[in-house]
Amino acid sequence: MPNPLYRKHIISIPDFTREELELVVQTAAQLKAAPRGDLLKDRLLATCFFEPSTRTRLSFETAVQRLGGNVIGFADGANTSAKKGETLADTVRIISSYTDAIIMRHPKEGAARVASEFSTVPIINGGDGANQHPSQTLLDLFTLQETQGRLDNLTVAFVGDLKYGRTVHSLAQALSLFGARFYFVGPEALAMPDYLCEELDERGISYSIAATIEEVIPHIDILYMTRVQRERFDEAEYKKIQGQFVLRADMLRSARPNMKILHPLPRVDEITTDVDATPHAYYFEQAKNGVYARQALLSLVLNETV
């Protein structure tokens, strides 16, 4: 029987079952331990980035090439037929006739879902506006499994922009399938959206809102930091909250030994550089795991068995 992700579109984390998430995580661990250069042999994939992204695109392209596959594509929508007014639907119809799968990023929310309705090959969502970025969540889950040895019943604090942070939303949704305890730490204006809190309520996930990072540190397995973007606030407001959601090494004294700090990157000043040398910092390893998680995902989508 083919694996459950074979020839599936990868659009959104809520589309995944718990077993499918576990399968990607296990496969990523296997590929990290024992690299395979043959899983995408003779396969051609497109990376269509209608919006620039350095890390996601390079990480996907690395994943394809490390697995023995080839890549065509573009890194910026500015020079494509989209600029001439072609619909995404038409662009995807054409590119899907050239390649075995399409990895895409697009500035409009829902773009990957639309693409999947017109493509004859699997669509892998590399980010659609502020909506979803499933491969980021898969690499986050893989990193949780790697550092904690499990996905079940983890205690996770999310810090920073909880309102617009799509990585936070998707990871919270994914972990809600495994039972979890959440702390939300951030400015009131950037609180978790109501609809997500309702989803967590329905799944019986307990969460609480905390005012400072320090008060949650002794209780958590994972500290998931995100950037509070200056442009979300006016200058006076920003001054008030600036510094409030910044992590410094001296705040980590009460942390559990297993506690790891993750961040989807890029970091600006919300984690001071003295944290990097502590045993809790794991964000660079997390970014490296992006290649393994994407290798796992692509291998499963393009091979009946891995």
Binding site: T87, A89, H106, E109, G110, V114
Partner: protein
């Protein structure tokens, strides 16, 4: 003894559909969103009619047209207590029951201006979920969740 004066609110219908108990103010919107005038049949609209339990209500009569079950259910989003009666030869032959649908396709525009459904050749699509306090609609494309009233107000 004073003679009781009875006047019909709206002219009687020989055959077709009467949509009654529409909350006052929603009648014209329903007419437009469901394109009821496009059938080229006679349509009579009553606005702000007196109603026993609603205070005031709107009402639509459309000749020679029967709504599909799907259309009737979509109406429930605007008029949760609405009634749809099918008329033949001046008599009510059937009352269509309204139930909030699980999904609505193509009627509403997504309130999210950055949703791809506005610029691609696809129909809008919302899944509908009734919660204790509200009816929520989730766009299939941008995956944003809106209160029903926000989606209904957009167009």
């Amino acid at each position: 003894m004073t003679e009781k004066v009875y006047a019909r609110n709206v002219e009687a219908l020989k055959s077709g559909t009467v949509i009654d108990h529409i909350p006052a103010g929603q009648g014209l919107r329903i007419l437009r969103l469901f394109q009821l005038a496009e059938y080229r049949e006679r349509v009579t609209v009553g606005l702000n009619l007196p109603s026993g339990h609603m205070g005031s209500k709107d009402l639509i009569k459309i000749e020679n047209v029967v709504l599909s079950e799907e259309q009737a259910n979509e109406l429930a989003l605007f008029a949760p207590r609405g009634t749809v009666s099918v008329i033949e030869d001046f008599a009510v032959v059937r009352k269509q029951k309204l139930a909030i649908p699980d999904a609505v396709e193509g009627i509403f525009a997504c309130p999210n201006s950055n949703c791809v459904s506005h610029v691609e050749p696809v129909q809008s699509h919302f899944s509908v979920r009734v919660t204790e306090h509200d009816t929520k609609m989730k766009c299939k494309y941008c995956e944003k969740v809106f209160s029903k009233d926000i989606v209904v107000d957009v167009r």
